[in-house]
Symmetry: C2
Subunit: 425 residues, 2 copies
């Protein structure tokens, strides 16, 4: 599919239908532009020429004997197909929420479909240019952390809930002394009464600012400011006031319009947490592929985007993780003055073992690699854990087998023995 | 499940798991409060007592031979169960986005589950009281329209896209002269260049205000102001400036936090459009039941909530439509001074035929009943169409069979013959 055709918004889907797939595609185009079950007086040919969605392509795949989703029209057989529809940009303007209402909206409910996944979005340059995109992206994140090569080595405050601001700050002190580049709040803690941001931010930033002054290195802490809009703006200001360098939000629960509002306000990178995303990828029969949705999240201003990790504890397939991360690293608008990539965040049960496969598949170290147990569980402590991850990535980036590189890196050698590989057996 | 237990947030789920369902429920509780794959130094027993999610109930259902969703741990058999978990409110505070991160968040990705649907939410009074809820609800909507009994008879501007502001206003004039109570923009039109709200609002409201002055009856028009936050606030102000009485937003695409922001600002009812909701109900294996999510939408401020309709053109089962509408009409907080119900909006291929079954199932006429073809397609015109729908609801509410009532209502008689019933055959 061409990335951008002037004037038209293109959306690609996997569909399953009891109808001829061409007819189903026409029904989708009708429903999402000028269709109703009755011919209307004002629906002129001219109006249709100007506004109708059109079917750009239909590629038939296999068929199935039973429908993947309930509620569809009955059929003798269910045809699967990849299709692309397009709309004139004039129908939507350049609004992200309205784009979603147009390219997905009621399609998920059509009885003509027994399966639908939105797989790709291609937006014309005029649409992309209406959105500034990530304010910091990879370049800005590297500048703020002084971490100029390799992935940012990150971790998450655990236990996820229950620590006081003072306990959190104490833990942060241990983590940054051990060499961590990036620390984030868990998505389960935002501004609860036992650890309000009004206390957590100053407590944590005191430790980080002291360390930065002492060493010249300033690790990034992503404070989870998820909340209502005014609250997020206030909490952002609090973070900035205390010289914090990152804010985090649960994107799926605040929503696109709020992410945009935060982006218009922010002066630090936005760490986009995608908890709840399983709702959209877990069923092969209905949902959204992340390569499509991350386009909107970046246009709305997310600088970092979670993508899970290889061999994770979650249900996502490794190939899907890599597709997502590759999409995040692919520029939307090809302009030299604009870096609209997002920095993919790998997480969930990551250890030294995933570095090499991740690098091979992605061909980049422009990412945040967060480990919990994979760093904290190192037999020789957190600093050794942190060094072992960095060594694993150095080996990966230079194409040296891990086992070989481990001869010169005792922390890596210990880690290789201590953690089971998710790829073996 | 009790509606409200002081201090704890309760969430119920349908799950499918290769594990013993009790063990799966424990894994869910761990993941969403203090779990990681390593025992942590700071995870004290005291912390766990204060913050751990707990399993309140597990009711085993049937088993399946194959998993409903891919990516789950392998098992010999997959157990289905209804379970309830609970959390201390202190973990979350009273934030809606953070509530979702806690009760759903990463659960959708767990390999311990091959199916998960969030089915019900029960929030403690202290949580409910932190949110004003719908500003207008049913009472306010009836006051604004002067429509004191029976459903509001509504329709949608069609064609969905392409009409100019003047054409829209002209159509509105015909519709209100015909007796319509409520008109809405389609979700496919918000603020596009060919019909900007800056022109559509004054054009439409001139017609409505003239009519109101002449007749004393003021139909409600829901302008689709879906967009970014500042834009929605501005467009709301424009609507109010022109004496408009309703604004509409695509709730799933603006998100919870933006709905809240709009609610804090609004001085007219918010018409909550749920396009995209098929993503959450269409698969029986993963998603959210509307009775759970509508709780949050009402707390975020939605006054009207779409629920589809009986015998609609969409894939949702009739029982699910009624469950959703019943939930919308059930008060959250039982306080005499507060009306926190939402007015359910029935739509999609509705005609005279659905009135009786809808009333029987719901026991209420506190709803908006929108018809497109079911009014516009009446052989004797729009006014006859509108009268026929009102007559059908009068028959329904008085328990008179439609055919019998039609003897005194010629418009109803014609409509009964003109439209096929979705319930026959």
């Amino acid at each position: 599919m061409p990335r951008s055709v002037p004037g038209r918004i293109k959306a690609s889907y996997w569909i399953e239908t009891p109808l001829d797939p061409h007819r189903a595609a026409e029904a989708m185009a009708g429903e999402q532009s000028s269709g109703t079950f009755l011919k209307l007086a004002r629906e002129t040919d001219e109006l249709r020429d100007r506004h109708a969605a059109q079917v750009d392509s239909v590629t038939q795949l296999t068929t199935a004997d039973t429908p993947s989703l309930p509620g569809a029209m009955p059929g003798e057989v269910y045809h699967r197909a990849n299709i692309t529809l397009s709309w004139p940009t004039i129908n939507v303007g350049t609004s992200l929420p309205n784009l979603m209402a147009t390219v997905l909206g009621n399609l998920t409910e059509l009885r003509e479909l027994s399966g639908i996944r939105l797989s790709r979005l291609a937006l014309p340059d005029e649409f992309l240019e209406a959105h500034p995109g990530p304010r910091f992206s990879i370049t800005g994140t590297r500048q703020l952390t002084g971490c100029n090569e390799g992935p940012l080595i990150g971790t998450i405050i655990k236990p996820s809930v229950g620590l006081t601001p003072e306990e959190t700050a104490e833990l942060v002190g241990e983590l940054i002394e051990a060499g961590i580049d990036f620390i984030k709040d868990d998505e389960l803690i935002a501004n609860p009464p036992y650890s309000p941001l009004a206390k957590r931010v100053p407590a944590v930033m005191r430790v980080i600012n002291d360390y930065a002054q002492r060493t010249g290195r300033k690790p990034m802490y992503a404070f989870n400011i998820t909340g209502d809009i005014d609250e997020m703006r206030r909490q952002h200001d609090l973070v900035v006031e205390h010289e914090g360098t990152c804010v985090m939000a649960s994107m799926n629960w605040i929503g696109l319009a709020s992410l945009q509002a935060l982006s218009q306000h922010t002066s630090v990178p936005i760490h986009g947490h995608r908890n709840g995303w399983g709702l959209f990828y877990r069923s092969p029969s209905i949902g959204i592929d992340y390569p499509a949705y991350q386009t909107l999240l970046r246009l709305a201003g997310a600088d970092h985007l979670h993508v899970n990790g290889l061999g994770s504890k979650f249900a996502e397939a490794d190939a899907s993780v890599i597709d997502s991360a590759t999409a995040c690293l692919t520029p939307l608008l090809h302009r030299s003055e604009r870096d609209d990539r997002a920095m993919p965040v790998f997480s969930s049960a990551q250890t030294v073992h995933q570095a090499s496969n991740t690098f091979k598949a992605l061909g980049s170290t422009d990412l945040i690699y967060t480990c919990g147990g994979g760093i904290m569980g190192h037999p020789n402590g957190v600093a050794a854990g942190c060094r072992s991850i960095r060594a694993a990535w150095a080996a990966a980036a230079s194409g040296t087998p891990l086992g070989e590189h481990a001869h010169q890196e005792p922390d890596l050698e210990v880690a290789l023995r201590a953690f089971a590989s998710p790829f073996s057996g």
